[in-house]
């Protein structure tokens, strides 16, 4: 897009140019307009998620690789068209109808444990969330390839927030007036959301997070009991039970 973007006379080490603070952590963003980043097509971010911090579902306009630098946590990605394969078995024998609703708790797509060294590939448009269930900050670095065919917009990193918001705005977007970045539900009329989700308008307004100043990483109060598999061998110092064949 820029004819001379790779005429690099000198390279230097780069530090983040924007820090987006949230209730449960922060996101540090490198300026992808810096010459060497612009030439390579990379956008780079670092996520610091405090214990009990939940990075709310977000998708990008580009594919990215994420590396776990420190800590441990949980990660979920919602891939279009894939089934909710993590579910609790319904409780039988409680009587039909009523028992069915009491016995059922939740079902969702795959959730994975994360630990240091894990590298996660995420295609463009796939919503992803992280939760820090450890005692130390969960630190992730992510490189998005803005120059690939996966990104069909301009060479700007564009996070689309499904929940939460970014009160500081996207300072790295040139030409856009700085303003709060809202989640995508905020742009729809609440009446439309109510009809699409078959919920009442008040709940639809809640989805817009308009009165919410927690940012895009929120603190979870109480247990975070998502359905998830047991830890792999060696993770978190725990050993799974040996099971004979």
């Amino acid at each position: 897009q820029w004819p001379n973007e790779c005429q690099l006379d000198q390279l230097n080490a780069l530090e983040p140019s924007q820090i987006i603070k949230s209730e449960g952590g922060r996101i540090e963003v490198w300026d992808h307009h810096a010459p060497q980043l612009r030439c390579s097509g990379f956008a780079f971010e670092r996520f610091v998620i405090e214990p009990q911090g939940l990075f709310l579902p977000t998708f990008l306009n580009a594919g990215k690789l994420t590396f776990v630098v420190h800590g441990r946590g949980l990660m979920g990605r919602v891939i279009p068209g894939c089934a909710e394969t993590f579910m609790e078995s319904p409780v039988f024998g409680e009587g039909q109808g009523q028992g069915q609703s009491q016995g059922f708790r939740d079902m969702h797509q795959k959730v994975e444990h994360l630990r240091c060294g894990d590298t996660i590939a995420t295609p463009s448009g796939v919503a992803q969330w992280f939760y820090n269930n450890g005692n130390e900050p969960l630190i992730l670095v992510a490189a998005a390839d803005l120059a690939s065919n996966q990104n069909q917009l301009d060479r700007n990193l564009r996070p689309f927030l499904i929940a939460g918001n970014n009160p500081q705005g996207q300072e790295w977007l040139q030409g856009r007036k700085q303003q709060k970045q809202n989640n995508i539900f905020n742009g729809f009329a609440p009446e439309i959301l109510a009809q699409a989700f078959k919920i009442n308008v008040e709940t639809a307004q809640q989805l817009q997070n308009q009165q919410d100043n927690r940012g895009n990483i929120v603190k979870v109060n109480g247990p975070f009991g998502v359905i998830r598999p047991p830890l792999r061998r060696g993770e978190g110092g725990q050993q799974p039970h040996e099971i004979a064949n």
């Binding site: 998708f59 797509q109 069909q152 917009l153 995508i184 009329a189 439309i192 919920i199």
Partner: protein
């Protein structure tokens, strides 16, 4: 498609036959897609298409293009369309009618609501296997999220979160009643 060569490649596919539709609801309409799986030459062109036809008061659930831009051309009827950008701003909130063209950039969420007797459109997408992700419905992003993420993300009760997740059982098309859409958000 491996058996096809450039010289013998099939180049034509009809998208107007409801019996070939990917989504068909007699009272709501149908949606057909054309991609490199059913027309392999599209792998060369890196393009795909979607044909939609919905009846009055049918709604295409809010969705976004995962890996493509789209050009939407209205072939018949009219609809109210709302579109939201990455900043959560409503960037389109208008009626669109026959002969008009609307560009839907990658990632922008869009909702279509037929207001005439019928709304028909063709979408051209800049990926040979374009995918969409929906915000509401049985195969939506909300269905794929754990309840705990929804309750904490939107500060709603578990019961409300269950309703958000499970009330809409359709995947693409649903009924909607005539409504006022509220004022465009700045």
């Amino acid at each position: 498609g491996l058996e096809e060569t450039l010289c013998t490649m099939r180049c034509t596919e009809n998208l107007d036959d409801p019996s070939d539709a990917d989504v068909y609801k007699p009272s709501l309409g149908y949606i057909s897609t054309l991609n490199s799986y059913n027309l392999p030459i599209l792998r060369l062109l890196r393009l795909s298409a979607l044909r939609g036809s919905i009846r009055k008061n049918a709604m295409v659930l809010p969705q976004w293009n995962v890996n493509a831009n789209a050009a939407l051309y209205v072939t018949n009827g009219k609809a109210h369309i709302q579109m939201v950008n990455d900043n959560g701003e409503r960037v389109f909130d208008q009626e669109i009618s026959s002969g008009q063209l609307l560009v839907v950039p990658q990632g922008f969420s869009v909702m279509k609501h037929a207001i005439g007797e019928q709304f028909e459109w063709i979408e051209f997408k800049t990926n040979e296997n374009a995918q969409v992700n929906t915000l509401a419905g049985r195969t939506s992003v909300m269905r794929g999220l754990p309840l705990e993420v929804i309750t904490n993300g939107y500060q709603i009760s578990p019961e409300e979160a269950k309703r958000v997740k499970f009330s809409t059982i359709e995947t693409t098309l649903t009924h909607s009643s005539p409504m006022s859409y509220g004022r465009p958000r700045a």
